[in-house]
């Protein structure tokens, strides 16, 4: 029993990881665009940040 449980846990993680490998492979095919999208999303947060904070703005 003690030997079966680690195998099951690893198998479950590996199964999820194999899906992640495929997903990662797809992501990297469009990596620059996908990465730039992250910047666009962050700009929303950035707006909030710039309206609520001061020290960073002082450097602008």
């Amino acid at each position: 029993m003690m030997k079966i449980i680690p195998k099951l846990i690893y198998s479950l993680n590996i199964k999820k990881g194999k899906k992640k490998i495929k997903h990662f492979d797809e992501l990297t095919k469009n990596a620059p665009e996908i990465n730039k999208q992250l910047r666009t999303i962050k700009k929303v947060c950035l707006f909030r940040l710039m309206t609520t904070t001061s020290s960073i703005l002082k450097k602008c």
């Binding site: 003690m2 030997k3 449980i5 680690p6 195998k7 846990i9 690893y10 198998s11 993680n13 590996i14 999820k16 990881g17 194999k18 992640k20 490998i21 990662f24 492979d25 992501l27 990297t28 095919k29 469009n30 990596a31 620059p32 996908i34 990465n35 730039k36 992250l38 910047r39 962050k42 947060c45 950035l46 909030r48 940040l49 710039m50 609520t52 904070t53 020290s55 960073i56 450097k59 602008c60």
Partner: protein
């Protein structure tokens, strides 16, 4: 938006620690990563749920799938030895602060003892103890140990050195079901552990037979026949420890894990044994500043504008509220995975040594030391650089620990070699020595076990072993006092 550094966020982080929310991000912050950066005042980096998820998906699931595909049936998927400990402090806002790797371990706390051999007393330490002994004591019982996972290769290497020096004591304890009285463990922990330990003379005899044959041949496959891999950060500044580990591992492969910081998991190894890391496009927004750029500018490059072979400072906008954040790392583009750059860490900008404007990087020092070792025909343990401005003009002093003491009467020759190598690695040093702007470089050998002792000392001062990186620059009074005190007067 200008670049930012940690100092720009301190004011907000201080408020967040007392419970204020939505200051730098509206994403929920669930942890604060204590960085290893400074001994006296470690940074507290906010970590969002998204960042923890990215760590889990890439550092655990993705990496184990890569290893499984590479090793196939060679990995029997037995329990592993986990050297990452969870040492958290509770903050006023009720959240934990501790290493980011510890957070990963904490998130699987209920599965931990099904997956790993070490008892919870050492994974969640409440006091300082001889953790190397406890990790080994339990891992050695497990004949079918599958792998070792550690944040850094230094931890794995220290463990194997400890084994080499102390195997007789550990084997005797396994044989008799005891814990040697010299081992530093709190009394209650000793009592708890002893209650669960049984004598195992059969395993002890097999181990003793293996150790008695010596450590010249790789020991790991002889004591753990199902051992399949090591999972640890071991490239760049850690490579001296990786080289040492090869001696214990033989043909057993290494998975070099991730390129990450407390702020973000930025890149991952897509292959076993590869020391090139593929940038993770959905983990952070990356910008790059050419490393040789003289002028300070706000302009940056995106990943599609990078060139193979060139060095860049990396700037990230992460998933935890840091914007255009300079983590101060310089990376080199070494290839491509589809349209994504493969990178290697080259040096940290704040670990650069410059006495008279010559800007010497970790990379230069590392190359010089490796070349020194080849020419002086010695075996390296570890090294650091010290900018000695106590003499006029200033000079570079390389501190070095070697496996065997070098001949004292050859010291002038060793000085010549290191001077020559530093001058090649950074021609600015050579030119400045020639023109008298710098004094000739020197080399100081330290006593046996100096670097291991330094790490032990840091652990005793409360630094998590998961966070201890090699000392590449002697840049604090603590380091200065320590390494100068352990200079080997006989070499």
């Amino acid at each position: 938006m200008p670049f930012s550094t940690y100092d720009d966020y301190i004011e907000y982080i201080e408020k967040m620690l007392t419970g204020e929310e939505g200051l730098i991000t509206n994403d929920p912050i669930i942890h604060y990563a204590l960085t290893s950066g400074s001994v006296d005042n470690p940074k507290k980096i906010p970590v969002s749920e998204d960042t923890v998820k990215l760590y889990r998906e890439y550092a655990t699931q993705y990496s184990f799938a890569v290893i499984s595909e590479a090793l196939g049936e060679k990995w029997k998927k037995g329990r592993g030895l986990n050297l990452m400990e969870v040492k958290f402090e509770t903050l006023p806002n009720g959240l934990f602060a501790g290493s980011i790797s510890g957070r990963g371990v904490y998130s699987i706390k209920n599965l931990l003892f099904l997956m790993f051999t070490s008892p919870k007393e050492v994974v969640f330490p409440t006091e300082i103890m001889d953790s190397k002994y406890i990790h080994l004591r339990y891992a050695l019982i497990e004949k079918s140990l599958s792998y070792i996972v550690s944040a850094f290769m230094t931890g794995v290497c220290d463990l194997m050195k400890y084994l080499e020096a102390n195997w007789e004591m550990i084997v005797s304890d396994i044989e008799n079901g005891t814990i040697n009285e010299d081992i530093k463990i709190p009394d209650d922990v000793r009592k708890t552990l002893l209650a669960k330990i049984k004598p195992d003379p059969k395993r002890a005899a097999a181990l003793r037979a293996a150790f008695q044959k010596g450590f010249d041949d790789p020991i790991i496959p002889r004591i753990w026949p199902e051992f399949a891999f090591v999972h640890a950060i071991g490239s760049g500044g850690f490579s001296v420890y990786t080289d040492k580990m090869r001696h214990y591992l033989g043909d057993i492969p290494i998975y070099f894990s991730v390129y990450a910081a407390s702020e973000s998991i930025m890149a991952i190894c897509s292959e076993m044994e590869s020391q090139a890391f593929v940038l993770i496009p959905d983990s952070a927004f990356y910008e790059f500043i050419p490393a040789n750029q003289e002028e300070e500018t706000n302009e940056t490059l995106t990943m599609d504008q990078l060139e193979t072979g060139k060095d860049y400072e990396i700037v990230i906008t992460n998933t935890s509220g840091f914007y255009r954040y300079r983590i101060k790392d310089v990376v080199r583009v070494v290839g491509w995975y589809n349209k994504c750059p493969k990178i290697q860490f080259v040096y940290r900008l704040n670990q650069m040594v410059s006495i008279a404007g010559e800007k010497t990087t970790e990379d230069c020092i590392s190359w010089s030391v490796r070349e020194f070792v080849k020419e002086a025909k010695c075996e390296l343990v570890d090294y650091s650089v010290y900018a000695d401005i106590g003499v006029s003009p200033g000079r570079y002093v390389i501190f070095m620990e070697t496996e065997k003491r070098l001949a004292k009467d050859q010291h002038h020759e060793y000085r010549r070699i290191i001077e020559e190598k530093l001058g090649i690695a950074n021609p600015s040093i050579g030119a400045k020595v020639k023109s008298g702007v710098l004094s000739p470089s020197d080399i100081t050998f330290v006593q046996e076990e100096t670097y291991a002792l330094y790490r032990d000392l840091m652990i005793m001062r409360g630094i998590s072993g998961n966070q201890l990186k090699p000392v590449r620059v002697i840049d604090t009074l603590v380091k200065e006092n320590f390494f100068f005190a352990l200079a080997d007067k006989e070499s």
